[in-house]
């Protein structure tokens, strides 16, 4: 029996590997917003970019159709969480023909590569893109070392 379990486990391991490969293929290509969500779990919303500009970390998140009031950004140390609700409900008096846009609440959390100063974080929402500027805490900032 134990032998059989091992086989099954093995099989699922191979499937996971295949799925990850497919995911990375599709994610990189950014091809279709509709199809690549059907691969695996829909845990990648919102999509984000993170860059390091020396003193700050900058995070961009793609949140179309989410108003400022419906977004929450939480920071603790180097832990960042973006959550919110996206409403894509039928407007009053209209009948729905086709629904492709996902309407749900979402939450995504990140472990940032550095500790950030939570009091100085700024967030702006523009054209469906949320930009969060996270100043690194003093200890994490780059420092010039003088050679003696």
């Amino acid at each position: 029996m134990a032998h059989h379990w091992h086989d099954i486990h093995h099989l699922f391991g191979a499937m996971d590997f295949f799925r990850n490969q497919m995911n990375s293929l599709l994610q990189d290509a950014d091809r279709s917003y509709i199809t690549d969500r059907s691969w695996g779990i829909r845990d990648g919303f919102p999509r984000t970019n993170l860059s390091d500009t020396g003193d700050n970390l900058e995070l961009f998140a793609e949140v179309p159709g989410v108003s400022k009031e419906k977004l929450n950004v939480k920071i603790q140390g180097n832990y960042l969480e973006i959550s919110g609700t996206r409403l894509a409900a039928s407007p009053e008096g209209y009948t729905l023909h086709r629904n492709e846009r996902v309407s749900s609440s979402f939450s995504r959390s990140f472990t940032l590569p550095y500790e950030v100063d939570a009091t100085k974080v700024t967030a702006t929402l523009n054209d469906g893109i949320l930009k969060i500027v996270l100043p690194k805490s003093e200890a994490a900032k780059p420092r010039q070392v003088t050679i003696s």
């Binding site: 984000t48 993170l50 860059s51 961009f60 108003s67 009948t95 846009r101 469906g128």
Partner: protein, 127 residues
């Protein structure tokens, strides 16, 4: 033509072609008695970067999105893309009165039905 000239010509850069990947944005389609309404997700697209063309019963929507980048990228899931989608528009749409608005990265496209396109009762006359 000297030999050096031939070499110089062959070293000219090739024509720069648009290399942005084309992406089909998700669209919700609604309808009421007066109009057809489309909601299109276009995150990060500026108003000026959207082109909507209606020609010969086809509505072409295309928009370029470029994401600002600075510093070293830790990860990148949002890319510069061209959003593009083509819809077949019924003849009953009043093309001259199509309007669109952009809010929070969502484009609302109103396609009003023309007056003449309403349901009409045909009276039968006896000859």
């Amino acid at each position: 033509m000297s030999e050096s000239e031939i070499i110089a010509r062959s070293e000219q850069p090739a024509d720069v072609v648009s290399q942005l990947p084309t992406v089909a944005p998700p669209v919700d389609t609604f309808e009421n008695e007066k109009e057809i309404l489309l909601h299109v997700d276009l995150p990060g697209v500026q108003k000026d970067a959207i082109v909507i063309n209606i020609d010969n019963g086809k509505l072409t929507l295309s928009a370029v999105r470029s994401v600002p980048t600075a510093g070293a990228q830790a990860w990148r899931e949002i890319a510069d893309v061209q959003f593009r989608r083509i819809f077949a528009v019924p003849q009953s749409i009043d093309v001259n009165n199509v309007r669109a608005e952009l809010k929070d990265g969502v484009l609302c496209l109103h396609l009003p039905k023309s007056e003449a396109a309403g349901p009409r009762q045909i009276e039968i006359t006896t000859g």
